[in-house]
């Protein structure tokens, strides 16, 4: 049985079993999975879930570690849009035919969340007749598939992936992506060499340390030293090289970074050990050198892994554009790949499709949803000579338009570029570790030099070895591990809660945040239209009005119509007809009903009044000659908003709301939630100036937005959040992206950032405290090399263990 009370914040009965989104009140869709009926939020999720269970792949749901992405509503284009990939010319750009006549294709997948997805995809791809091999790479979100072209088509594979709820695209290998793979493999190679070397040298070192304690014959000691030498040399040359390179590069620029003490410790300890081996005197530190290299490389590799996991290859605005476009060529409408579009060609954008490119309307009128640019969920009406932009959604009616520019010059591409720019211009706080490194290394070098000087007076023959033991024992391993280990731990823990961490540096800023600024009201509202008000114009009861509206809206494809899906619909309608761009008309008991725009209703009921003045999305409803009601749709405040605002205040954060909207909606919202500071009618420039002024006053500003159209403002904030529904993930750019849109995670992230900061401080405290105790002992010549090696490893392990606490 399900333990419903186990997680009090989210009742699993209320969320879709497939995608985790909340379920509309009156929707009753469920799919039998694992012998129980699981609720589904929409037919799209149900279709995917049914497909998965009917293929015998229920195991997927038991194994996955994150909810799936909500699939797009299937529309008319789903079946045909992938047919373009059967065009050999286009297919050649991402496929390759091998000697046996099989086709090898690489496909980029949107919506992959966890390893279970890779299993699901591999299993269901292998079930397609003709597919020889399917292999998913989670890191790159890439599917490599091999199939016989006689038995199945590329479009079959794309369609099947789409039916599973993923968004397939041809994988175009870019230089950046190849570079990332290359660097990752290089890091792994260095790590592997250091690990194997550590085991070998460690074995010899145990014998040497044991020999130091209970005595060892000189010839065996020499043997063990001489065999350690080549192994350690190879590790230093192959694995530790990046430390030397980085340290040297920064030193030439006059800056002291963490890699400098690391390189010094490795280099000096190695050289001294070589000298000891050759001269047959003193101590060897080969094991410390190699272990140190391995631990540091391991920490950096894990950090890199955690960071890269968030940089999905499909996080690109261009990927939200359709791959196939209907274009007029030689007087005929043909479907071509979007990449082949030429400027000045005429394209057709059907209702419900995404506009593929910036274009000027030459025929038809419709409304486009431009929430990608302005966060506005109410569509903008467009007619002849208006410009529609790539990435916006054509909501109502087919448009014929002329292509204005290439994708690269489109508004969407410009927006993407401004995001990248904003991110690079962001004032980055110097990493704490590097700041500490500056004086730490100076201190170490000073102490080492002093020790050597003093011992030169007392016992010159021992001076080198004592000075060296100071350097090894003060080995900055723990210090170098302190930050990456904690940041990786925090990022992993946040990921499990649905918060994607893009900029780990921002965790530090977030922990010191003083101001929490909400950019536009959209971040505090649900972002979908919901019913807010019914203004009756006749005698009908509210309930009947809604039943009629719901019945008629079933036949509409307009985005507003989805709002009505949750209401019980009157059943006795016939001859219902959807008139694109106007509304719906239907017949009931010999009366004609209409729902839709003002003009549309007025045709049937000439005395239909104008809508009330409040800025809302108004829909008219009338019967032949009789106005019935105005129905207002609105973007509702998120239910958890008030609680989150309260929690933020308890954490000592000052709250503010900036909005570009000049209506009184913003102030009303701020007042009801208790936000003190509110600025309306702000242009993006004003917002940026306001944030900069705050920062100049010493404030650390955290900005919450929706991640794309407000990206420049988010970029200058010290830390930024994007609140996004799962399907908007690809477009959201911020330091933290809250997927699933649960504002509670905002507070959870702030708390986690503070925990992370505390753990980093504890780590530094421990590393420094350990050095303060150990260095004087080493300087007095009291620490034998085996104790130095053990002390160093233990202090590193403790730092890692402490950071692991952040996983909870």
């Amino acid at each position: 049985m399900l333990l419903v009370n186990e997680t009090p914040s989210v009742n699993p009965k209320d969320v879709c079993y497939h995608c985790g989104e909340s379920i509309p009140r009156t929707t009753l869709i469920s799919v039998e999975i694992d012998g129980e009926y699981r609720p589904m939020c929409c037919p799209g999720c149900a279709a995917v879930a049914e497909l998965i269970t009917s293929s015998g792949l229920d195991g997927f749901y038991r194994q996955r570690s994150a909810y799936n992405e909500r699939p797009r509503q299937p529309d008319a284009t789903t079946a045909t849009q992938y047919l373009v990939y059967d065009d050999p010319e286009l297919a050649a750009t991402f496929t390759r035919r091998d000697e046996e006549g099989l086709i090898n294709a690489s496909i980029l997948l949107g919506g992959i969340n966890c390893a279970a997805c890779t299993w699901l995809i591999e299993q269901s791809m292998s079930a397609i007749p003709g597919v020889k091999r399917a292999l998913v790479q989670l890191q790159q979100a890439r599917l490599d598939i091999q199939f016989a072209p006689q038995q199945c088509l590329l479009s079959d594979i794309f369609t099947q992936l789409d039916r599973l709820g993923y968004q397939p695209r041809p994988f175009q290998s870019s230089t950046a992506r190849q570079q990332a793979t290359f660097e990752r493999r290089a890091a792994l190679r260095r790590l592997a060499v250091a690990g194997l070397g550590m085991m070998q040298v460690g074995m010899f070192a145990i014998a040497l340390h044991a020999g130091d304690i209970q005595g060892i014959e000189a010839n065996y000691q020499a043997l063990l030293r001489w065999v350690s030498l080549p192994v350690a040399s190879f590790v230093v040359w192959y694995s530790a090289r990046p430390f030397f390179i980085t340290a040297w590069r920064h030193l030439r620029q006059g800056s002291l970074v963490m890699d400098l003490p690391v390189a010094l410790a490795i280099g000096l300890a190695f050289l001294a050990s070589v000298w000891a081996t050759v001269s047959g005197s003193g101590q060897v530190y080969f094991d410390s050198v190699v272990m140190f290299t391995f631990l540091l490389l391991l920490a950096r590799f894990l950090e890199r892994n955690a960071r890269e996991r968030e940089q999905f290859a499909w996080l690109d605005a261009e990927n939200s554009l359709p791959s196939a476009v209907t274009v007029q060529r030689n007087g005929q409408w043909v479907t071509v790949p979007r990449m082949q579009l030429q400027v000045a060609e005429t394209i057709l954008v059907n209702a419900g499709e995404t506009v593929p490119v910036d274009a000027r309307v030459i025929q038809g009128s419709s409304a486009v949803r431009e929430d990608m640019f302005n966060g506005e969920h109410v569509p903008r009406a467009v007619g002849i000579n208006d410009v529609v932009y790539a990435g916006t959604l054509n909501a109502e009616q087919s448009l014929t338009a002329q292509v204005l520019v290439d994708y690269r010059d489109s508004r969407l591409a410009a927006l993407q570029r401004s995001i990248v720019q904003a991110q690079t211009h962001k004032p980055r706080l110097a990493a704490l570790a590097d700041r500490i490194a500056s004086w730490f290394i100076a201190g170490i070098l000073l102490v080492t030099a002093l020790t050597a000087l003093v011992w030169l007076q007392i016992a010159p023959e021992q001076a080198l070895w004592v000075a060296l033991s100071v350097l090894v024992i003060s080995c900055p391993c723990a210090l170098a591990l302190a930050t990456p280990a904690a940041l990786t731990g925090a990022a992993t823990a946040l990921r499990a809660r649905g918060v994607i961490v893009r900029g780990e540096n921002a965790l530090e800023a977030l922990s010191r945040a003083t101001h929490l600024v909400f950019d536009k009201t959209g971040t505090l509202t649900e972002g979908t239209l919901t019913l807010s008000e019914v203004v009756p114009l006749g005698n009908e009861a509210r309930h009947d009005v809604l039943a009629v509206a719901a019945a008629l809206q079933r036949y509409s494809t307009h985005p507003a119509a989805r709002t009505f899906a949750t209401f019980e619909a009157a059943t006795d309608f016939e001859h219902v007809e959807y008139q694109v761009g106007a509304g719906v008309e239907g017949l009931r008991a010999n009366d004609t009903y209409r729902i839709g725009s003002e003009a549309f209703c007025r045709e049937l009921a000439p005395d239909f009044p104008s809508p009330p003045d409040t800025i809302r999305y108004w829909i008219g409803l009338c019967r032949e000659g009789v106005p019935l009601a105005w129905i207002a749709l609105d973007d509702r405040v998120r239910p958890e908003a008030a609680e989150v605002i309260g929690n933020a205040r308890e954490l000592g954060l000052k709250l503010a709301l900036l909005t570009g909207d000049s209506s009184d909606q913003g102030p009303a919202l701020a007042k009801s939630l208790g936000i003190e500071e509110i600025h309306t009618a702000q242009t993006p420039q004003q917002k940026m100036a306001w944030v900069k002024a705050l920062q100049a006053g010493g404030a650390v500003v955290v900005m919450v937005g929706d991640g794309l159209n407000d990206a420049p403002v988010l970029g200058i904030a010290d830390a930024s959040f994007a609140v996004a529904g799962a399907t908007d993930l690809a477009r959201s750019q911020a330091d933290f992206v809250i997927s699933g849109g649960d504002l509670h995670q905002l507070i959870a992230t702030v708390i986690k950032a503070r925990d992370c900061r505390r753990v980093i401080r504890q780590n530094f405290g421990w590393a420094l405290g350990y050095n303060l105790c150990a260095i004087p002992l080493a300087a007095c010549g009291l620490i034998p090399p085996w104790a130095a090696a053990i002390g160093m490893s233990l202090s590193s392990l403790l730092v890692v263990a402490n950071s692991l606490r952040l996983h909870r």
Binding site: L57, G59, A115, A116, L138, Q139, A192, L196
Partner: protein, 67 residues
């Protein structure tokens, strides 16, 4: 104890072979996706297949795909 003079070099030769193998495996892309392999070992058995779908076992599917 004189056997050390023989055994330790042999151990080193094994170490060199192990490093070579590992570097080759990394270069051929077998370690590109660490998350999935870690998960797959715990995954349940594959579902029953339709007779026409003859497939390799997961182990041999790990063959490098880049040449």
């Amino acid at each position: 104890m004189d056997s050390l003079y023989l055994l330790i070099p042999i151990a080193l030769i094994f170490c060199v072979i192990a490093i070579k193998l590992l570097l080759w495996a990394i270069s051929s892309g077998q370690y590109d996706d660490l998350d999935k392999e870690a998960w797959r070992i715990l995954a349940e058995d594959e579902p029953e297949k339709t007779p026409n779908a003859t497939r390799d076992t997961p182990a041999s599917r790990d063959d490098p795909q880049h040449d």
